[in-house]
Symmetry: C2
Subunit: 269 residues, 2 copies
């Protein structure tokens, strides 16, 4: 059994080193905000026969599902974003869905990965948080060691074939005097969900701000406004709501760390 | 037989009116630069069994294949971009590919459209030309009534499954003092192929500037530089090169005119 590492031990390590520690079991925690500067992503894996519907779903819902890479059938290797990585072992924790239920949450999905499985690599807002910090935008929850809260909204995604479900969102409290810069900056990164989909009143999304579905509860202070971004947890809600036969995803906040610099994926310099 | 209209007769008409004249056969010419202000697109239709490979091809080649909409299997109606339109009749001229050869170039593909056909609507640089003109960028070929020239480059697209082929590009001569503005402006429209992929020496793309594969030969003047954009003719080259069993596309410069304002598809305001 390798020595257990803490999240602090990962500071300063590159993507391949972090993935190595996750793969070996030396690090078992979440990977939120780990290896800043490199794109971090969600992952969805499906049998080939279900892949077309999912790709159409992603095309119709680019907000929650920015598709950054699709692997060959059977392959767990994202050749463009992280050559040599293995999507079956390099995320710290997974969810395995069967007949529309989550049936396992293992730290390795090699035994669940069938020969016809295709993986979809989906951008995540965790990728632009360090750009926000560099731009002087206050993200107090990061300093508190918290993970961004995620909510299930009352908005439906555009359906595709048998796939349908609600939109998930992440929320960050943003100081009102940093709101414009936040929108400008995140607009540069549609690959990571881009600009917010909503600013202010959580009721407009049917969300109870004090009760996130995933992540940590985060206080919205008097000089702040809650800002909501489309979230790559959405496919997990679709798996549940659409009773998907078979799907593997990352566990929320256990993201895949790519070798690709976030800045390379911006729409403008 | 309805009265024949010229391209000039279409000036000032809205997208639905233009599509109506094309559908009825009253207008039989190309639709390049028609109904400026509304997104104009290429179209690819494939049987459902070939659709997954094509969607992966488009995901891996977002430059030449910005996918704006995918129809339901059997449906020729782009519900998001132009509700009520019919992709089998509303383009002036098509190409029908069978076993990797172009076997027909009809003005209506209703009889070729099988029950499992899916249509892919792909953005086109024709959509941002009027923004360039509004910004004071000189596009002399438009005033001359010419259609933008398209070339086959020596660059390969990223393959996907059985699909592979070279990259097609469109070329516009741009005044050197308008080059920066051209790049800035077109970068706003990744839905229409976005920023140029190359500026200057045609040899770098393996292109003979005087011999376009489609469109009109256009002179590059002394104060101009040739500027190249990825082009949605690319899937037609893929059909030929990959010996695709069955594919329908628009004929080059016979674009589909949507009801969607181009400005709605910009990445920033």
């Amino acid at each position: 059994m390798p020595q257990q590492l803490s999240k602090e031990d990962l500071v300063g390590l590159g993507p391949a080193e972090v993935r190595g520690h996750i793969r070996s079991g030396a690090y078992r925690g979440d990977s939120w905000a780990v290896a800043p500067g490199f794109a971090q992503t969600a992952m969805v894996a499906l049998p080939r026969e279900a892949a077309l519907d999912f790709m159409i779903f992603a095309q119709r819902n680019p907000g929650p599902c920015p598709l950054l890479e699709v692997t060959e059938p059977g392959s767990a290797s994202p050749e463009q974003l992280a050559p040599g990585a293995d999507l079956r072992t390099d995320l710290g924790k997974y969810r395995v869905y069967s007949d529309g239920e989550c049936v396992a949450e293992p730290g390795d999905v090699s035994e669940h990965w069938t020969d016809d499985m295709m993986a979809f690599v989906i951008g995540c807002t965790g990728s632009f948080e360090h750009h926000m910090v560099d731009a002087g935008i206050s993200l107090d929850y990061l300093g508190d060691g918290k993970v961004v809260p995620v909510y299930v909204t009352d908005r439906d995604c555009e359906a595709a074939g048998s796939l349908h479900g609600p939109l998930a969102v992440s929320m960050r409290p943003i100081r009102t005097d940093e709101l414009v810069r936040t929108i400008e900056l995140t607009s540069r990164f549609p690959a990571f969900h881009g600009a917010p989909i909503h600013v202010g009143d959580p009721d407009a999304l049917g969300v109870d701000i004090d009760d996130p579905a995933y992540g940590d509860r985060v206080e919205v202070k008097a000089n702040e406004v809650p800002v909501f971004w489309a979230c790559s947890v959405t496919p997990q809600l679709v798996a549940l709501e659409s009773h998907v036969d078979s799907m593997i995803t990352n566990y929320p906040s256990f993201m895949f760390i790519t070798d690709t610099p976030t800045e390379q994926m911006a729409v403008s310099a």
